[in-house]
Amino acid sequence: MRELPKVQTPYVDRAQQHEAGIMGMHIFLASEIMLFGGIFMAIAVIRQAHSQEVVEYSKELHYYLGAINTMLLLTSSFLVAAAVHMSRHARRKAVLALLVSAAFLGLLFLGLKGFEYWSEFQEGRLPVAGGMEKINSAPGRLFLNLYLVSTSLHAVHLTIGVIALLVVAGRIYTRRSALPQRSVVVETTAAYWHLVDIIWIFLYPLLYLAR
């Protein structure tokens, strides 16, 4: 085992530094929730104002692809939670395996999401140039616009999450982050990953299951 990491400037001991790191991430996540909150609000308002069209266009979304993606994310969250547990017990290899497989599930999600966009484009139901022959009402198009904006914003977050998981795995692999002393990096990344997961849990019914 390597030397204990040095405590950084403002801190007096490691416990304090650890707690501060976790708290900082939680506050950041609260901020992220408010960011998506604005979009949820917009979706809710449009749903209220044009319920008929929203339902009509929501029915055309590939809800089963969304369901598979939901399961992928839930599973990955489980893996990440397990990684946190293992990191506290310094089970380095288990942590590595769990983080990398969670990142893999995240990539699968992104791949499936990309396929979904592509098929929607083929069907003429994606509100981008050349892909919207089938969209023929303004509120319907608005709903699909919000669908595209919110899911792609989520995808950006997920991409950042995948990168973060891989970076943390890399640091643990090269032993730049020693376990269990630096388990805080696993914990904060996991917290971020769970949030991205939870946002999807809200987006999925809002967009795919509007009836």
Partner: protein, 558 residues
């Protein structure tokens, strides 16, 4: 403190042995001398240096925003359009609003004095995340450069409120660029707020319990909560505006099934709490100044501390009072009006408690206290006229008139800017280690107060008489009051420049301040001025309440 600068003992620049001129021993080991290169400043993680970086940047933006205001006031000297075109005028007041709100008022006190003082006041060596702190300054600068870029490109003409569908479809300025600039600077706010919350939670010195925190810390805590929770809503709203302009998203466009009022709800959900971002730190500063001036604990510490939190929480529930005439439901309006009266209660508590603090105090009339007095007076007027526009029937008449302009300038400029100058005059000796001329300080406090009232009081009358805001040409009957306001603005402008002169002078010729020039309590006054790089040689232990001044008990009562 009246002998801060004795002119007979002014240091002689030709005499290198003069103790007032050369570096004192404290200064040689202070944060200011810990590295002399530009690099040592631009890559510093020392919260005190980051605070100074912020101070320089926001002073710069204050000047840019001030120049825009000068153009606006000069143009309003006559009822016709002579100095600027209609378009030019709209761009001038928009620029004034955008720069003053996001590049001066919001970062003003928190990012300078908050940054500098929070670790010192709670007995910490730095903020919880020093590198994040520096990053947040860089993000701020990036947003600022974007804004200057827009300025060079010709500006934007939507007003700082970006109301849709004007901003999303009809305006022909660089709306997307400005939205991007504000979007960027928002992340700087979020990171600063996050840093403060974690610092206050996790880095308090042993014995510094929540009940012993200076009130400055309490108000910054409340501010940070708003920064973290409200700013992202603005970010996403601005992103939606940009998407609307660039891709025709439609969410705010009624022709595409969107709702222009949704924008107002989202915008004010941020921007009303943002008012408290601007004023809560000022309330914290004034609590410190009043206690220090009276040499007494603040009357009703718990009420004053709790009122900051109450303002932050209730402040999230009053945004609809900006929309009484927008066509929102009258029941919603009635509820928002009521909640707006509720949020005034904690502010009222602060005002009355400060006044009670002065009772049987040992009051010094040094510049910081004069600024604090000015703050209290202007804040009372601003706050109570705010209640007037929270009254539904009155607001229907006064909404979007100069009455509202006067009201929020009393809070933002009369309040926050006065507190900013009060803080500057109080902690200047701590920050630079030198004393300034109190005589000039008192004069500038007085001139700022007079110039301010001269500028903005006439606007209350203008507003009640029906002068709408953002009007470039106006009926002749309003000219006298507009001219008074413009003359007042030039007094105010000069008064704002005065401190720059004598504070700069103090850097060169001021007497060394010593640890505690005002003879007040607080951890920041127990260490040398300017403080050493790591603030405390040893983390202090706190064993008493704040403002623990000796109580006189040699009673006269029989």
């Amino acid at each position: 403190m009246s002998s801060v600068t004795n002119h007979d003992e002014r240091p002689n620049p030709d005499n290198l042995d003069d103790p007032g001129l050369s570096e004192t021993k404290t200064e040689r080991v202070s944060y200011l001398r810990a590295g002399h290169t530009l690099r040592s400043w631009l890559f510093t993680t020392d919260h005190k240096r980051v605070a100074l970086l912020y101070m320089m940047s926001i002073t710069f933006f204050f000047f840019i925003g001030g120049i825009a205001a000068a153009f606006v006031r000069a143009d309003l000297l006559t009822p016709s359009a002579d100095l600027m075109t209609n378009e030019g005028y709209n761009r001038a007041f928009t620029l004034h609003g955008v720069i003053m709100v996001w590049f001066f008022l919001i970062p003003s006190i928190p990012n300078t004095f908050g940054n500098f003082l929070i670790p010192l006041m709670i007995g910490a060596r730095d903020l919880a995340f020093p590198r994040l702190n520096l990053l947040s300054w860089y993000i701020f600068i990036l947003g600022g450069i974007f804004t200057l870029f827009v300025l060079i490109l010709g500006g934007v003409d939507t007003g700082w409120t970006f109301y849709t569908p004007l901003s999303s479809m009809y305006a022909n300025g660089n709306v997307v660029l400005v939205a991007t600039a504000v979007f960027i600077v928002g992340f700087s706010s979020i990171l600063t707020g996050l840093n403060f919350i974690v610092t206050i939670h996790k880095l308090r010195a042993p014995g510094m319990t929540w009940g012993r925190l200076p009130l400055f810390i309490w108000s910054h805590y409340a501010t940070s909560v708003i920064l973290v929770l409200a700013t992202p809503v603005l970010s996403v709203t601005l992103a939606l505006i940009a998407a609307e302009r660039l891709f025709g998203l439609g969410i705010f466009n009624p022709e595409l099934g969107g709702d222009p009022l949704l924008f107002q709800h989202l915008f004010w959900f941020y921007s009303h709490p943002a008012v408290y971002i601007m004023v809560l730190p000022a309330l914290g500063v004034v609590s410190e100044l009043v206690a220090a001036a009276a040499r007494k604990p603040v009357f009703g510490y718990k009420f004053v501390a709790g009122s900051s939190i109450a303002i932050a929480v209730i402040g999230f529930l009053v945004w609809g009072h900006h929309m009484f005439v927008s066509g929102q439901s009258i029941y919603a309006s009635a509820v928002f009006s009521f909640l707006s009266l509720v949020v005034a209660v904690p502010s009222g508590i602060k005002i009355y408690n400060w006044t009670a603090t002065l009772y049987k105090g040992d009051i010094s009339l040094d510049p910081p206290f004069l600024f604090a007095m000015g703050f209290i007076g202007l804040f009372v007027v601003g706050g109570l006229t705010g209640l007037a526009v929270a009254m539904l029937a009155i607001d229907v008449h006064l909404h979007d008139t100069y009455f509202v302009v006067a009201h929020f300038h009393y809070i933002m400029v009369g309040g926050t800017v006065s507190a900013y100058f009060g803080a500057l005059h109080f902690w200047w000796p701590k920050i630079v280690g030198r004393l300034y001329s109190v005589v000039w300080g008192r004069l500038s406090a007085m001139f700022i107060f007079i110039g301010f009232n001269f500028t903005f009081f006439p606007q209350f009358i203008l507003g009640y008489e029906g002068m709408p805001r953002r009007y470039h040409v106006y009926p002749e009957q309003f000219q006298v009051l507009h001219d008074m306001s413009s003359i007042g603005a030039s007094i105010l402008g000069i008064a704002y420049l005065m401190p720059a002169v004598y504070l700069y002078y103090s850097l060169r010729y001021g007497q060394p301040a010593g640890n505690n020039p005002w003879n007040v309590t607080g951890l920041e006054w127990t260490i040398p001025s300017p403080p050493p790089k790591h603030n405390f040689d040893e983390i202090p232990t706190v064993d008493g309440p704040p403002y623990n001044y000796p109580v006189r008990k040699e009673a006269k009562h029989a």
